[in-house]
């Protein structure tokens, strides 16, 4: 088998914050009735509680995010994604469910620095200042769909489709250029 490579192979830009493509990441798309006991049991076996609407929860084997009323996204090691997809598919064999290994169809970015919020604020219509930790926010980043969450004290992680990864990197790089900060402090209120 050929070697897996991420969309931008870890490209990084230094602006007033650091913008980096995160390299290979495993992602499974789970479509199912989210109240299904079989699903909840299968998730629990991997250490994941039932995610509430818009919530992203971290566990040892990765993170699990609520994406829509019938969709979850499981983020894990790229090397473990295929096996995890098989295990979950087997557990949900008799349930109306679909597990898709979308690892190579997506790209993950990390925006790191005290003013990370400002990079995103300029690009999307969401209220970033009001975004709580533990929430997966799906929205529009300029002209493409994206989803992001607060993955650390000064870090935002952002997912987009692989096909638009270089477009998104262009947006983030320009938005993070020194001198283009929106405010001196990390957020308008601080």
């Amino acid at each position: 088998m050929s070697d897996a490579v991420s969309a931008l192979q870890g490209a990084t830009h230094e602006g007033f914050v650091t913008v980096a493509e995160a390299g290979l990441v495993g992602m499974l798309s789970i479509r199912c009735d989210l109240t299904s006991k079989t699903l909840l049991k299968a998730l629990k076996a991997h250490g994941f509680p039932k995610p509430e609407p818009r919530q992203i929860v971290e566990a040892e084997s990765g993170a699990l995010a609520w994406m829509s009323p019938d969709e979850l996204l499981l983020i894990c090691d790229h090397a473990q994604a295929a096996q995890l997809a098989r295990t979950l598919s087997e557990a949900l064999e008799k349930t109306h469910a679909l597990i898709g290994n979308v690892s190579d169809a997506r790209a993950l970015f990390r925006i790191q620095g005290a003013k990370s919020d400002q990079v995103i604020m300029k690009l999307c219509p969401a209220d970033i200042a009001a975004l709580p930790t533990g929430e997966m926010r799906r929205t529009r980043l300029a002209q493409v769909p994206a989803a992001f969450w607060r993955s650390g004290p000064n870090e935002i992680s952002l997912i987009c489709f692989r096909s638009v990864a270089s477009y998104v990197m262009g947006l983030l790089e320009i938005s993070a250029r020194p001198g283009s900060e929106l405010f001196e402090t990390a957020s308008p209120s601080s």
Binding site: P53, R54, M67, S68, P69, E71, P125, A126, R137, R138, T139, R140, P145
Partner: protein, 107 residues
């Protein structure tokens, strides 16, 4: 600016995060209907100044369809509700009547 709250995921966002789907609560006329009914179903749409019921999709968010009642003149949104609703909910009608006493819901 039009600000909508998606009843499927609870997010409140401005309209560019959504995609409009035209008038809500259309009755479908298919095979065996009269030509006039079929034409009406395909082409005739309300275009009120004031209270209007519409379909919207949270296109950049959770991806789900929902219905919304809003004022076309002021962009005030009276409420949003599930796409699986055949007619505007009674409590929403009551809320609109309280704000727009002259408005009459159409059958």
């Amino acid at each position: 600016m039009l600000t909508l709250t998606c009843p499927c995921c609870g997010i409140t966002a401005e309209e560019t995060e959504f995609a409009p789907g035209g008038e809500a609560h259309l009755k479908r006329f298919g095979p065996d209907s009269s030509d006039a009914d079929f034409e009406g179903y395909l082409f005739a749409r309300k275009n009120p100044k004031g209270v209007h019921f519409e379909r919207w999709r949270h296109a950049y968010g959770c991806g789900k369809w929902f219905l919304a009642a809003r004022c076309t003149a002021t962009l005030e949104v009276f409420g949003t509700y599930a796409a699986q609703t055949h007619k505007p909910p009674a409590d929403l009608i009551k809320k609109i009547k309280a704000k727009r006493p002259e408005w009459e819901p159409q059958a």
